[in-house]
């Protein structure tokens, strides 16, 4: 259905653009060797020539891209050993793709055919900018993952690591996590506290959100303010207040104390997400169900619940993360028996900086990527089954 015509672009357009990119990469390499100008010149000329050769002389894309990829890698190795190979291969892969992407005109594939050159340029500039912001978002993860394989007990990229010397890497922090009873205990505590807190906040929160969404609720604003308050009161104040108050109730230092505190903190997220879902909820559906003789409980579970489920689930996820990643309140309200993962991490950071923390973080990130991907795949599958076209 696309009207855009994908046609090869002239080399006179492609070569200069590639040369600019090449010059930039040349600058990076050149400055590393104390000669930025030479780097720029070599980079520009080399990539421009490459673009010319691949597009006008040797038009076999697959072979050309492999050649570029391996060629750059070899040059990198010749100059700077193992780290050079990595950088070289990255550059090679990029230029191999970039030359043909431009040369074959594929970059216009998803744009309206009438876009001017400037619009195309702005479009991609915007994409690059967004890409940079996404990289900013995952920077910490990019740092944490390699550092968790550090062979030393500090948060530092050692020279060995930068040389890709196997000596600089080790799995010892992972071993520490899996063998150390403190970490294992903390893991179990987190896994027993967070789900219970989530169940409490989701249970109470969903009911209240349904109540709040009905048309005639007295003091709605005031009630809402109270229910949202755990999110807006600065954590340190909540933590101290709960500490004194729970101590008096004998809840301080107990499993239920921490669960109640975390449930309170998770409630605003449930309220917000579920009320948001209920805004779009068609009330005539429940009336129709009631009309047909369903009692309120049946109506709730058979009609309302399935429709607001996505909101409930996402609220539950937020509540879970709140509890799973919470350190200030648990430090105050909990005691040794409720030491959660973040608490253990906090101790680790304060008393002995150990990359075991980073290993734990990496494991959690991997698990969460797997979870989020699974959820996404399931969503697509159910959409396909329901016959809706995704996007």
């Amino acid at each position: 259905m696309t009207l855009t015509i994908i046609e090869p672009k002239p080399v006179s357009f492609v070569a200069p653009v590639v040369a600019v990119a090449g010059a930039f990469c040349g600058l990076l390499v050149g400055t590393a060797h104390d000669n930025p100008l030479l780097g720029v010149a070599i980079g520009a000329v080399l990539t421009a020539v490459l673009a010319f050769v691949w597009l006008s002389v040797f038009r076999n894309e697959r072979a050309a891209r492999w050649l570029t990829f391996l060629g750059f890698g070899a040059v990198g190795f010749a100059y700077a050993g193992v780290p050079g190979v990595v950088i070289g291969l990255a550059f090679g892969a990029f230029f191999g793709w970039f030359i043909f992407w431009l040369g074959e005109g594929r970059y216009r594939a998803k744009l309206p055919p009438y876009s001017t050159g400037m619009q195309v340029f702005l479009h991609f500039l915007f994409r690059v900018l967004c890409g940079a912001i996404f990289i900013f978002l995952i920077t910490p993860i990019l740092v944490v993952m390699p550092l968790s394989f550090n062979a030393e007990n500090f948060f530092t990229f050692t020279p060995e690591m930068l040389r890709f010397d196997p000596e600089g890497y080790s799995l010892k922090h992972y071993r520490d996590f899996f063998t150390n009873s403190d970490w294992q205990q903390a893991m179990w505590n987190s896994l027993s506290i967070a789900p219970m807190a989530t169940i409490l906040s989701v249970g109470f929160g969903t009911l209240a959100a349904i109540g709040l969404s009905s048309e005639h609720v007295p003091f709605r604003r005031a009630i809402m303010a109270v229910l949202i308050s755990p999110m807006i009161v600065p954590l340190i104040i909540s933590a101290a207040g709960m500490y004194f108050f729970y101590s008096r109730l004998g809840l301080q230092g107990t499993y239920w104390g921490v669960v109640l505190a975390h449930a309170a903190l998770g409630i605003p997220f449930v309220i917000i997400t579920v009320t948001a879902t209920l805004v779009g909820f068609d009330r005539s559906l429940t009336r129709a169900a009631a009309n047909m003789g369903a009692n309120p409980v049946t109506t709730f579970f058979r009609v309302q619940m399935p429709l607001i489920l996505p909101g409930v689930i996402s609220g539950g996820l937020f509540a879970f993360i709140t509890s799973f990643d919470e350190v200030v309140v648990v430090l105050f309200v909990g005691s040794a028996g409720q030491k959660t993962l973040p608490w253990q991490m906090f101790i680790g950071l304060r008393e002995q900086i150990s990359p075991t923390i980073l290993a734990v973080a990496t494991i959690l990130v991997v698990i969460s990527i797997a979870l989020l991907t699974t959820v996404e795949l399931l969503r697509r599958r159910s959409e396909r089954l329901r016959g809706m076209s995704p996007g």
Partner: protein
């Protein structure tokens, strides 16, 4: 209030004696400490042997010593004490004792005498700075520097005043984010005699003088709050020199092989030890006293030094200090109390700081923020 002391202590002891006879001891203890290598040394040197000798007893660690005073005050307010034995620094022990949050003790009654029969109170000597306090270790806050950052052709730094000498030793320094120690070092390096430090610091001019001296390096200071920070900063090459607890530096140098050197000059001695929270039920108190007697005897304190380079608080333990448990190096030369390291030391005045801490802290924080 000696009358009161003996009264309380004797009550406690009768209780202890009675329950010990009845074998009516709780089977679990919650011990509070600092976490990290220090807690590990306690675990290895006395908790594990004690648990091995007393099967059925369990010990749980709570790494809350940094907030111990606040938490014990709140527990006391709520009448719900969940800790059995708390590891704190001496100044915190004094504060807890003053406020009646920690139990007063008769050291000779509850602690084991030295192997030669010397009473515990004589064996610990002056280190019993409070009636509630049972010292374990002597540690010091001192400086370390990165050897590869010493400028060419310059002697490595050797005195605390080199920290204030930015011309000879350019680079960042890390200092603890509190007035204690820093103010004294600043005045000392500004030419105040060691025994007049607190007299000078008691005046507004003295405080300003110390802050002015600190001002001269303020731009180059990274302030730390947790003990693990300076070793990390040194390992990163982020600072040239920095103050921290001597055990942390030892571990970075000897166990982690970092290019760091100690600078013992004007090391500030401090003590760390146990206090028992006031108001423990009888069975738990009996268990704690039983453990305490074991954990603070001469051999156990000497054993601890095999895991961390802090000096045992008992005089009788010093000759028993041996080698590092894993590295096999002699530990004695790494102790803050070793004569070679203790040529020029500074013992900070607990009393003075107890009185002036709030006031100086307000000034110090205002100075930091400006």
């Amino acid at each position: 209030m000696t009358f009161k002391t003996t009264l309380l202590a004797s009550t406690a002891l009768t209780v202890a004696a009675v329950s010990a006879q009845a074998q009516d001891m709780a089977n679990s203890m919650t011990l509070v400490s600092w976490g990290g290598a220090y807690q590990n040394s306690q675990q290895k040197a006395y908790v594990e042997p004690y648990l091995a000798a007393n099967p059925g007893v369990t010990a749980t660690w709570d790494e809350s010593s940094a907030e111990a005073v606040a938490k014990m005050r709140a527990m006391n307010e709520a009448g719900n004490v969940t800790w059995d034995l708390v590891d704190v620094v001496a100044s915190d022990a004094m504060r807890l004792c003053d406020e009646g949050l920690a139990m007063e003790l008769d050291h000779d009654e509850i602690l084991a005498p030295a192997p030669d029969g010397t009473d515990a109170s004589d064996d610990f000597g002056d280190l019993i700075v409070s009636d509630c306090f049972i010292p374990q270790i002597v540690y010091s806050t001192t400086f370390g520097y990165r050897t590869d950052m010493v400028p060419d052709g310059v002697e490595p730094p050797s005195t605390v005043c080199d920290v204030f000498d930015l011309e000879t030793y350019p680079g960042k320094r890390s200092l603890q984010k509190r007035p204690i120690d820093n103010m004294e070092w600043a005045l000392y390096c500004d030419g105040v005699a060691k025994d007049e430090l607190y007299d000078v610091l008691s005046t507004d001019e003295g405080v300003n003088r110390a802050l002015a001296k600190l001002d001269s390096i303020k731009d180059q200071v990274v302030w730390w709050t947790a003990g693990a920070e300076t070793p990390q900063l040194l390992a990163d090459g982020e600072v040239f020199m920095g103050s921290t607890y001597n055990g942390r530096l030892f571990s970075a140098i000897a166990e982690q092989d970092q290019p760091i050197e100690m600078m013992w000059d004007m090391q500030s001695f401090d003590l760390d030890g146990w206090v028992i929270p006031a108001g423990l039920p009888e069975d738990r108190l009996a268990r704690v006293l039983d453990f305490l007697k074991f954990a603070t005897d001469t051999q156990r304190l000497a054993d601890q030094a095999a895991y961390i380079s802090y000096g045992p608080a008992r005089q009788s333990s010093a000759p028993l200090v041996g080698q590092h448990a894993e590295l096999g190096i002699d530990m004695a030369p790494h102790m803050p109390t070793d004569p070679a390291n203790a040529e020029n030391t500074h013992l900070y005045d607990y009393e003075w700081w107890a009185d002036n801490r709030d006031d100086l802290d307000a000034k110090f924080q205002a100075w930091l923020a400006n």
